[in-house]
């Protein structure tokens, strides 16, 4: 089993000091350590953005592809080898803007993936433009007059589209986030964690302080198997009233357990003679 230490790579994380991505990184390594996620059983995919740099800092096999396309790559990996744990690290620009179509369709198919959204409500890597998570009125380089658009609600969207595990955590709450990651991994199907991740450089609105002040843990008796209740809960977003926890958690067949099982490396020449009748 890998230890926290040997998940390190030769690269030192170069996120801005204080960036919420450090919390996600630490939580993931902690969970990996606890659960024994290593190169015998795990692969990660990442989008393009500050979040995507994570693949340079975790010594697990990884695929950092194109902006917005981490999900289809992950689905392809999982179909080819369902025994792999597949983690997807994506950003709000990556998953909800450029890759919005994949987000809803990957959820609806219930691919057995764990998807971690670095939700900083900003385009970090391109130096600060409004994202689909930025609130109405948000001022940034791309909306100097304030954004005119309602943000997307990634939890409601995931629930609506067909995700079977939907949760939220704040990136600073490392132990809880690590536990959620473990739970999401154990869940069979599309497991989605919206991580409230402060971008200390380009989004002063959603700071660590803001999330520390305004989040609360979902009630212990909340029924996470009820879609309507989950949807209602996901609409809550107000001062002191941002719920974190598991919103939705139901059992459904995963995409991978329904389809033909191919062997990841067994590639054989095939005899097609039996098909000729049709063409004769």
């Amino acid at each position: 089993m890998k230890t926290l230490n040997n998940l390190k790579t030769k690269n030192v994380p170069n996120w801005c000091p204080g960036c919420g991505d450090f919390g996600i990184w630490t939580a993931f390594k902690q969970a990996a350590d606890k659960e024994g996620w290593d190169n015998s059983n795990t692969v990660i995919t990442a989008g393009i953005g500050c979040h995507g740099h994570i693949n340079n800092f975790v010594a697990l096999s990884s695929f950092e592809g194109l902006h917005g396309r981490a999900l289809p790559v992950a689905s392809g990996i999982k179909i080819a080898n369902p025994r792999l744990k597949v983690f997807v690290f994506t950003g709000d620009g990556d998953a909800l803007s450029e890759g919005g179509n994949h987000f809803i369709h990957t959820a609806r198919r219930n691919h057995d993936l764990t998807v971690i959204l670095h939700d900083n409500a900003i385009y970090g890597l391109t130096t600060g433009q409004t994202s689909p998570r930025s609130p109405k009125g948000f001022i940034s380089k791309s909306t100097p007059q304030g954004s005119f658009e309602e943000p997307l609600n990634p939890l409601a969207l995931a629930i609506t589209a067909g995700a079977t595990f939907v949760a939220r955590a704040y990136s600073g709450d490392i132990d809880y986030l690590a536990d959620l990651m473990i739970e999401a991994d154990k869940h069979k199907g599309f497991a989605f964690i919206d991580v409230l991740q402060p971008c200390v450089t380009f989004n002063s609105m959603y700071s660590h302080f803001f999330y520390q002040e305004n989040t609360y843990q979902i009630e212990a008796d909340f029924d996470a198997t009820n879609k309507q209740a989950a949807f209602d809960k996901s609409l809550e977003w107000d001062l002191k009233k941002i719920p974190v926890g598991v919103f939705y958690n139901v059992d459904k067949p995963t995409y991978e357990e329904q389809i033909v099982q191919i062997d990841k490396v067994k590639v054989e020449k095939r005899d097609i003679a039996s098909l000729y009748t049709k063409y004769s």
């Binding site: 790579t9 030769k10 690269n11 290593d38 190169n39 015998s40 059983n41 795990t42 692969v43 995919t45 393009i48 740099h53 693949n55 340079n56 010594a59 697990l60 096999s61 990884s62 695929f63 950092e64 592809g65 194109l66 396309r69 289809p72 790559v73 992950a74 689905s75 392809g76 990996i77 999982k78 179909i79 080819a80 080898n81 025994r83 792999l84 179509n101 994949h102 369709h105 389809i259 033909v260 099982q261 191919i262 062997d263 990841k264 490396v265 067994k266 590639v267 054989e268 020449k269 095939r270 005899d271 097609i272 003679a273 098909l275 000729y276 063409y279 004769s280």
Partner: protein
Amino acid sequence: MKPAFTFKIGGEAGFGIMAAGTTFAKVAMRSGYYVFDYSEYPSLIRGGHNVMQISVADEPVNSQYQTTNFLIALNQQTLDLHKNELIEGAGVLYDADQNIKVADIPDGVDIYAIPFTQVVKQAGGSYVMRNSVALAAALALLGANMQHLKDLIAEEFAGKEELIKINHEVCEAGAAFALEKYKSKNILSQKQNVVKQILVTGNDATALGAIAGGMTFTSIYPMTPTSNILHILAPFQEKFNFVYKQPEDEISAINMAIGASFAGARAMVATSGGGFCLMSEGYGLAGMTEIPIVIIEGMRGAPATGLPTWTEQGDLRFVLHAHQGEFPRIVLAAGNVEDAFNLALRAFNLADKYQTPVLILVDKYVCESHMSVVPFEYEDFKIDRGNFSVDKIVDYKRYEQSDTGVSTRTIPGISNYIIANSDEHDVFGFSDESSENRITQMNKRMKKLATCEETDMQEPKVFGSRDADISFISWGSNKGPILEALKSLPNANYLHLEWLNPFPSEFIGDFLKKAKRAINIECNYSGQMAGYIAEKTGFRFEEKNNFLKFDGRPFYPEEIVKLINNENTK
């Protein structure tokens, strides 16, 4: 003399023209003939004009012809549109129950009036069986072995005895009516020695090649002219143990295929130009991360939605240059169904060997035209996964330098630490923007193309004699009409280009330099291959030697022959 007998059936879209045509082709094939068919239809589910032409010959036949020897007209429009194709001695069969005007059929054409509905009714059949009457009557008049038609019906409705019986009766009635009223000709008579053949389209051949070649994953978003590949593959997933996935769009298609290939699968996608636009970012991602994938790109009339059900060869330059910057891409073009099978079969080995995308260009004409061929032979073919290891490798370097440019590939999940990174990366796969690393990795990737050129690239084939007066040069599906034209042009030969990248520049340059007169033939507006040849070899075609067509129709052998003969008599 035209080296084929050409049969045509036309009518309104949605009335089973293609099915009837294919049945005719199979009867001819089972009777010992070679056949080729070509169909035209609009981008509509109903309405509009559908037509299918079948060339039948004693020798292998490679294309449709402009003239028609026998026409079944299911409606007036068919007659109006095609009557002038009918040549001396031809026959035309039409529905006498409709008020069809046959007044201006050319002289010397036999006219067969068959009351489709009446015959169906009398035989106790239903309205939808009218095509059977027409087909049976035509086959009877052409002296065909009617047992083949009966067999085909029995195979189609296998298990439904009632349906078989009534269809057989309708056919018999149609044949009987025709023979009673008209004299039969001895054209499609049963041959003694029947070589076993299959009747396949380019799409069939591609799908079969992919199955034979060991494909284990394919994601295809439907798009004419390659949608049929998915229709052919989807039912056989369990039988052959592969996954067909319908993705939400073409972007997802190629990224899923890349993911699957990264995890060890043999992956393929298929699309047309519009979908390929959306795949073009993933195309280069595969190049950069050195992931093998096979891409089938089926060209059609363009730009934009264009002429969705018509043919063109306008995407040559696009696929050669799609995506920002440069990466090694192997680009091949299929000339006919046999090529389509062989290229699809072998593309997976090439992709694995060079760990890069292999793209096969086809077009509507080759994708959807049937040709009869002897069952595909690939005994010598072996799966070659290239430099691929499932061993545990310590200090593994995914992008290590090598003489060939190829490094050892492995897969996740077997304790190797493997990094794929769309950023420029070092030998491990970590992002690295230094000048030295950039130069090393670019050279490494591009080296693969040079290796492929030396090791795997095939010389183009020359058909016909080496020292001809006229040398045609072309690529893709023009192969068919040109080979047919050669039958009437003994002084011409044909250089067929299959490898487009890497490109056999030297061979082509030599050939063209030696050619007495070289003529470039292409189905696109500007002569893209002519430009590519000029770039690569320095040989420039004079304008009069560029035969171009861009109206969505393939070349006809007669057009090629006429162009040459008219010039010669000038």
